[in-house]
């Protein structure tokens, strides 16, 4: 039994804490961007989003919710299980993209440039012990 349930309010709180502690603006290359992950087919049958806004390298907003997500520069859409597999390192993000398990919406060229920086954020989230 892990400490947190993935995408729960407690998990979100922990994520905010770890992101703030571990990701300095310098580490985040002072980027400004935003992205929304759309989780389809969550275990309770609902659809959720995770929205992250980064301003000048600072995590300005990090939230999980239901319904219409805030507008973001990038949108990544997949089944909950796909995101869970990526978080558990059972599936690579590139493989998920190229096998159409993930759908990316937004400027692909910019996404590729930002990918190494955003990957740091994903690594922090993956470090949270969670039940999926």
């Amino acid at each position: 039994m892990a400490d947190f349930t993935y995408l729960s309010p407690e998990w979100v709180e922990e994520a905010r804490k770890r992101l703030t502690e571990r990701l300095t603006p310098e580490k985040m290359n002072r980027i400004t961007s935003s992205m929304t992950n759309i989780y389809k087919n969550c275990p309770d049958g609902k659809e959720r989003y995770m929205y992250v806004a980064i301003e000048n390298g600072n995590i300005a907003t990090f939230e999980v919710g239901e319904g219409e997500p805030p507008k973001a520069e990038f949108k990544i859409i997949a089944d909950y299980e796909t995101f869970a597999k990526i978080s558990r390192a059972e599936l690579g993000a590139v493989r998920a993209l190229t096998s159409r398990k993930l759908t990316l919406r937004g400027n692909m060229a910019k996404a590729l440039r930002l990918a190494p920086t955003v990957d740091k954020l994903n690594k922090v989230l993956a470090s949270i012990p969670a039940d999926y």
């Binding site: 993209l97 190229t98 759908t103 919406r105 400027n107 692909m108």
Partner: protein, 406 residues
């Protein structure tokens, strides 16, 4: 942009080009334009766009480019367009050509219904870049609310008359090609041709042109087209071969340079000594015919006029059997190499309209081929020209002549 236009002789006003396209889109009731041809990219992006690329032009505002992901950053570093408008496609969920552009038009531009202009047609040039049948099917299925309307003549029309910066680019490309011709001549004179192959000569000229500022021997039919001896009599496109030059042969050097997407293209011919009387007769005919056509170009002339007058002229000289039909092909920025004029209302679609009326600052390549296959001799002349009110300007200044060289 205004300062830039004043200071830089090669500056072009791309914003005006886009506004011209959008004005034409408005006249035709187009909500969005999906360009796919190389010439459309050159005209708008104003940088070298070699990979399969699409440009989406809304009825108002900035166009957005979608190119193969490996080249997106390079294009961004060279074009005037900003990061938000230089995008990439990739074989990934939501990011392939069809998905990325469908989402952009549907969701970002919010165009779900209306008319979409696209580019289809035919050409003698394989790499034109028309929307393929597969792409058409996929895009029209992905954008079911849009009526697809072939509209490439919009770009053809607004790019027909060349602006000052574009003409200056062609002048510089012409100067560069002349450097190639000088190097080629130097390489073959005084017996330098002995043991030399067509491919080697092509490389010598390419190096000289690169040193003079060219970035590409852009031509799709063999880069620098070099032919010698019996091959000159074949008339057609001539990628250089490993054939060695030999005494008593004709040589044809058709060199290509590119400067800021403007295309240098000049063919020059020689006879390697000893030339026969028959070869000299052919050579003199050819030079006279080229000069006759060069002297005939002016605003108000038509291709039909020129070909008819050349027919009479060559008939009088007794050489009409050797002149291949046609005296020009179209030219513009990289990718715009064949079509003359912009009208779709022509007797034979996608071929030159004999009634096309040349206008000032329109450009074509004065192109003539002479093929006497039975005598193993032939010549080619090409030179991008600017049509002027009373005459034309040759962008390559290399003297028109066919020298006998030892």
């Amino acid at each position: 942009m205004a300062d830039n236009l004043q200071d830089d002789p090669y500056a072009v006003d791309v914003e005006q080009r886009i506004m011209d396209i959008q004005a034409e889109m408005q006249k035709r009731g187009l909500d969005v334009y999906l360009g796919s041809r190389i010439r459309t990219m050159s005209f708008i992006v104003d940088t070298f766009v070699p990979w399969r690329t699409y440009i989406v032009i809304p009825a108002e505002g900035m166009p957005t480019l979608f190119t193969f992901v490996i080249d997106a950053a390079r294009i961004l570093s060279e074009t005037w367009m900003d990061e938000d408008h230089v995008r990439a496609y990739f074989g990934a969920g939501g990011a392939d050509q069809i998905d990325a552009i469908q989402y952009f038009i549907d969701e970002e531009l919010g165009i779900k219904k209306g008319r979409l202009g696209y580019e289809t047609g035919m050409a003698t040039y394989s790499a034109e870049g028309w929307l393929t049948h597969y792409e058409y099917e996929q895009f029209s299925a992905a954008l079911p609310g849009l009526e697809f309307v072939n509209s490439h003549d919009i770009v053809d029309g607004v790019s027909l008359i060349k602006d000052k910066g574009t003409i200056n680019r062609f002048r510089e490309a012409g100067r560069i090609v002349d450097e190639g011709q000088k190097a080629a001549r130097k390489a073959i004179e005084n017996g330098g041709w002995k043991g030399m192959t067509e491919t080697e000569l092509g490389g010598i000229a390419a190096l000289a042109m690169r040193r003079a500022g060219s970035v590409s021997e852009w031509n799709f039919a063999g880069l620098n087209e070099i032919s010698s001896g019996w091959r000159t009599g074949l008339g057609a496109c001539t990628p250089p071969t490993t054939k060695e030059f030999a005494a008593g042969e004709a040589l044809m050097f058709d060199l290509h340079a590119m400067f800021k997407l403007a295309l240098g293209d000049h063919s020059h011919n020689y006879l390697l000594a000893p030339a026969t009387e028959r070869q000299r007769w052919h050579a003199d005919n050819f030079v006279a015919c080229v000069q006759f056509v060069a002297d005939s170009y002016r605003a108000g002339a038509t291709p039909g006029d020129l070909i008819t007058e050349l027919g009479r002229f060559s008939e009088d000289r007794g050489c009409s059997d050797f002149i291949l039909p046609g005296v020009e092909h179209g030219i513009g920025l990289f990718g715009d190499e064949w079509r003359v004029g912009a009208s779709m209302d022509v007797p034979i679609p996608y071929w030159t309209d004999p009634e096309h009326v040349y206008q000032e600052n329109e450009m074509v390549i004065l192109a003539m081929q002479y093929a006497a296959q039975e005598d193993d001799v032939g010549f080619r002349y090409e030179n991008p020209i600017v049509i002027r009110k009373e005459d034309c300007e040759l962008t390559s200044k290399y003297p028109l002549a066919i020298e006998e060289i030892g």
